[in-house]
Symmetry: D3
Subunit: 329 residues, 6 copies
């Protein structure tokens, strides 16, 4: 099974030791994004992965590609053009203080202004078994939206597994009406096999109604022919909160146990969950095992630095089975 993800690479700048931006003269530099994160998780689980994106045609773009390769992701489908990459600062939270993300210019990035013509859709569909498309592509530009939709449609027609996450960001859609946004999602959803989202996506974005997430997802999956709908749910507290997940398949609705969180780096943990679900689908695990594995991967992803999941399958399994000691030698 070879997995490709279509999505944005962003540069993350993180002040050290829980400092705020105004307190620091050095920042940690890394590159990530939903696609990168999911592929990093899958790559650390042993699968072959590749990223489809555009990076700026300069030293920053080359460094970003090197970072992606280091995560174990193939970079041969990356194109280079323009001079910008989306970027954000992460001020890491501590205890009662939440993490804060400050985005700088994002829409004008090499990826944000890329178009269908920048991507060789045919070639990609032939090479890969699973295609992941990040929902943010629908909100960046006309070009990324068309590319994402075309990629989903063609992959679906070729019988490939198409994964999609809502990742709806109101801040990127200030100039669009609810109806317009809804329509963009409705165009792509019929081609999707696996969808990641939550109650808010179904209710507020797609106007479904229902009392429970199970009811909502049932309607959603029927309407768009989606085979897997999955997501995680968190509570928050001073010392971390709790996390659980659900996975709805044609065979029914499964929920994971709830795990206590201790949070070091909050960002990218939803992508760790998604990587876990895709792993279960690849391995043809039961829904119960799949969602439990996925949420355990997400719980552990809260404890590592950076957006991209790095934990190996073996440690996730041991955590699931409560077999971890305080030190592994």
């Amino acid at each position: 099974m070879k997995i490709l993800a279509f999505g944005e690479v962003m540069m993350r700048l993180t002040p050290p030791e829980y400092k705020l931006i105004e307190q620091t003269t050095t920042v940690d530099l890394s590159f990530n994004g939903t696609g990168v994160n999911i592929l990093s998780g899958l790559s650390h689980f042993g699968y072959q992965t590749s990223l489809l994106t555009q990076l700026p045609d300069n030293h920053v773009g080359k460094a970003a590609a090197g970072f992606v390769r280091k995560l174990g992701i193939d970079d041969s489908n990356i194109g280079y053009s323009g001079n910008h990459i989306g970027l954000y600062f992460l001020e890491m939270g501590y205890g009662n203080r939440p993490s804060e993300v400050t985005y700088l210019e994002r829409l004008n990035s090499a990826f944000g202004v890329s178009t269908l013509a920048d991507y060789d859709i045919e070639k990609i569909i032939n090479e890969f078994d699973i295609i992941h498309i990040c929902g943010i592509t629908l909100s960046l530009g006309e070009g990324t939206r068309e590319a994402a939709t075309e990629l989903a449609e063609k992959a679906h027609q070729s019988g490939k597994i198409v994964c999609f996450d809502f990742n709806f960001r109101p801040s990127l859609n200030k100039n669009h009406s609810h109806e317009w946004i809804k329509k963009q999602y409705e165009r792509i959803l019929p081609y999707c096999t696996v969808v990641f989202g939550g109650e808010r996506d179904l209710k507020e974005l797609l106007d479904f109604s229902g009392d429970t997430i199970e009811q909502l997802s049932q309607k959603f999956m029927e309407k768009y022919g989606v085979q897997y709908f999955s997501g995680s749910k968190r509570s928050k507290s001073n010392t971390g909160g709790h996390l659980s997940g659900f996975l709805h398949t044609s065979k029914g609705f499964s929920e994971s146990p709830t795990y206590e969180l201790k949070i070091f780096d909050r960002i990218g943990t939803g992508d760790a969950f998604a990587a876990g679900v895709i792993t279960g689908i690849i391995e043809e695990w039961s829904a119960t095992r799949t969602v439990n594995f996925a949420v355990c991967n997400a719980v552990l992803a809260h404890t590592t630095f950076g957006d991209s999941p790095l934990i190996e399958k073996d440690m996730v399994e041991k955590f699931m089975n409560n077999e971890l000691n305080s030190v592994i030698r």
Copy 2:
């Protein structure tokens, strides 16, 4: 409303990553002090602030002034003389291990040896509405004591709001009798509008007696004509402890809820509380809202690096109203 604080700037040297001094070859360098901290808090809440102090007339003094400016505090009332600045090492605690402060020479600093003649009291009183005076000035030298008392008296006479905190440090008063020390506080207190302190200050320093902090502060406020008496109270535990605060005004005694702490940097959190109370006074909030805001600011100040509060008003409000998620985008 323009606020000026009269107080010492100290240099803080902090080993990284919870290391002890003996373990490190690098230390974080910052500058702070009660006055700096309170003004930093007020500046981050949007008020105009200025520091009255003396710094050494060398590159260290200039760097300290730059640091103060960076916090948003006006430095045009800072004088430069001598070559020393008080300094201390902070070994940051973790869990069961407390933070440890090691002071090096402090009395001989440019500020410690400054005198009334170094400060243009008239000009300052004309320009500012609120004057904060740190109680440590009473224990440093004859000159700082006189300057503090004169400043309080003149400001009081001009109808300005005078804020004062006890900040009594036994280690700086080893050569003075209880009576002598008490007398210094008694000289300045009649000029003070707002006083920050606690049960121990009233009982042990000023020899009041009473069963509750409310009774004690009632007697204290009456005796010296103080209009606001306020302080915070902490319990300690392995994972952080709890914090609450009180504010006694002419209208009565208010207490905040108790908040659970998760402590990253313990130092300066009392000053965050004071900045919160002063904000309530400026904004003419109710005592209840004021003390709640102040203690929330202090709780959040435990989670940021450095002595000086940096949290904006909006986040304190959201924390008060329990509206914070684990990440703000």
Copy 3:
């Protein structure tokens, strides 16, 4: 004498220890720009300075303002809007390897999209004696170009000293014809008292001809009524190269001695030269002394980290007079 500069603040990201971007996971974070740099130099020489610009209305913008204040520059004329700031990576050169600057998105910054309406030109002209305008403002956007030109015109009419530097960047003008660009410079030049530039600007941009810089600048000053034209000239070698400067005034053409360079941080050294020339104008020094001081300031600026000059007047004087030992105690 109070000096204001109108110009862009940029974020600079610098890999440590001469590393390339692809080699590092941490970068040094600072903020600068022609205006910031010149004001930093003047502020370190003891003058009152203020920056006129727009910064993003988020934590990055606030941190940038703090950085500017730390340099000793007043930030009360800075406005906040939008979410972007121009930024670049600097890979510091060593010996035979040049420094490399990689710009990310710059045109869409809060400053780049600002317009005349964002600035209170009247107020500024009343408060300041010298107004510096960076030539890059002509190439960013319609709005910054109009604001710059209006500011120059009004200041000129009020008898203020208007400083201007060419700072022509072909990369920002790819879509404009030579004639169009030339016209933008020609609109502003008649209002300028002091202009910084070089042979290439006069020949290639303004189409002057002449054998020497003296001849060229004579024609240039006459045509536009410029009173001071000044610039520096560098040669390059493996170990640093050499630097000299010229200053053309109504009294004639002066050249500085040539100094050997040892380069640590190449960026911003032209701005250090400009700060030196402005200092000579403020102090009414002879042209000879002025240009020598300016080039010495630029030579020393090659030896400090960061774009912004930080050297004090006393050290520049000692260097000019060859009075510096290898260590100052």
Copy 4:
């Protein structure tokens, strides 16, 4: 009382800020080992200590000796030969994620290939009152095993206190049968006065049976003539777990209270416990006080960076007596 330890010095490489090896381009460098750790603890309690070992005869060995001296340990019994030192990476855990130790080559270190001839056993026994021998020496090489056993025997014959810890590491004994390994321990145990270990050592390594640790240790102490048997016991949880200790002497079996842990650096905490027990023996404290002090030292050792205990006696006592505030000034 002068204490000598015979054991391996290892180099520890630790990625910063909870990063994994693959995420970092810098690592913290330190040197430690069971002997170093126990002596560091004792040295910080005010006792004279010395390390008996072999280090590589190069800059790394010299640096390791400097590190040992810095901890307050005499290095005059260290020899230099060969070019290797055992080393490992520590990826520090966080919350649900355990710490991970990755060993590189260890057996071929200067210490691992050292032999009896490298050590002046007579001299050492004359100079020191307490000799600590790390059980890992039995698993490294023929030479270290013989040296350890000879040292124990001779010290025992001279009436010195011989301390020994099991420290059994299956990974170093893959090529040996259970019987062979057991025999090595059985050769040295009769010479030991104080032994550190746990239930698993007695049951799985020495084939004792019993329901409780008290029963097991009773049999063990009788069989080998051991006077003190001691160890600690931990539970694990997301936020740290709990720790308690026991000390079995000729006068009976004592257990400490159980303390809640908050873990920053898990490694070397067992050695902090041992240093505490040896302190109690030196000071002739009661077993109850001794084991309580030892476990408190271990609890605090979880909160400091590095393997080697650094906490002073006074702080351990205050923690035992619940007298610590959140900050010590």
Copy 5:
């Protein structure tokens, strides 16, 4: 043209800011080796490269592979076994003080103990056009020597270009006679197309005699049927020294100009030279152009951190043509 290199990956630990090991508590961590370095250079010139080696089967080995991928080198021919990797400390020199390399255990690394059976020689020869073999493989172990020789022989038989560098290290050959060592080189040389070395290799290792490097290499190339013999020559001085190179082909002997060095990181610069020569062979440049390009790449490699060349072809060309300014924007 696809290039594969067979060679050792080593871990390099570098104290920061020119410190010695004994002065630092942090070290920079990187991975390199002759093969890695040459491929890094070729990869940055735009060629497809792959490394053939063995890495330890643990987190360190995985991190090393990630580092190699980041350099742009394919890692799909890397195997994982054992637990050790060769490593060294580099204390970076400055001016009169040379750089110092301290090797820890190297022979027992996963690569050092690997054997012919670990490598799929057939597959490799089919896939690649140029095979580079590092001469150090002849001195590590019986297994690496056999693998190297077999690889050279088979590649030669298949008409592939075989590159080889002498890289003779006396310290790795203390137990072997001159005759024995010479014989190992003589076994592999007949299969080599391109050889990198110098006067000392030909005279002292292979017992050739001659007055000039041209004479020596002529004899050498004839005897073993080598088509290209190339090397660089350095002088040393306080400020860096000078570098030149030669390339002897069937068409004659060419020498490059001599370039002045300014040295930041001395290690790996010979590999940069080799990468340059191989580039000339791939591009079928003249010998003159090739050797000039190669030595320019080596000169620039002295100015970047780390062993592995990172400079792009365009910058090397500009340096050759003296077109570099002190800053590239």
Copy 6:
């Protein structure tokens, strides 16, 4: 030969990467002083050394002692009292920009206020063969002056070698007349065997006259019965300058060759010279060899970070003999 030095330990705070204090939020922390530096040099040459001083009785004093031990210097003659240690910032120079030292409070340090009663002079004289006394002790306080003079007198009477350096600092003697200062030096000089100084010391401080350093030192040695007078002489230039040394003994006046400097860390290099001269005296080398060795040690000390010399004898010898390559493996 065992050497003891009596002198001050100071804390040095150094901004990283050539930054100025105002630019940094981290500083490098080290401890040094003339005595520490000379002993560090001698310790790295293989001699037994010990420091006689007072350090503050807190974590900073303990860390300083650890730092001294790490350099290979015995700390058993160090006492602990008070709470202060002298400290300074070093802003490292680059090229044309000199290094700048900013001292904070120094006179009130534990050492500065120590008195004769704090030191066990008898014990020290019995144990050591060579006693070094730093001339700064004459300028700190009444107590250090008396202790230094008494130590010199008693050591002289016991036939020990007494070394002394002028180290005259005008900034520490602002309140004393020339005559008073001269008298302090004249009291101690008759007890000194080896004196380090220069032309300025003899002319300006002691009022000798003469045309050459040889003439001056001849008179000086005769007057005070000094057996060795030695010093170094530097010129300065942008790229480092040059250094040479002289040594005047009863057998005549010797001068070293002049060496070109490349300066990384200028501080402490005079102490490296002194350590070299003392080594020659211990080893009974000729004056020519001694002064050459000493100046070579000083030249190399310019290339290492920190005040304290760290170079081993072997490397100094190789440098003297021009045997160093650009890398030592």
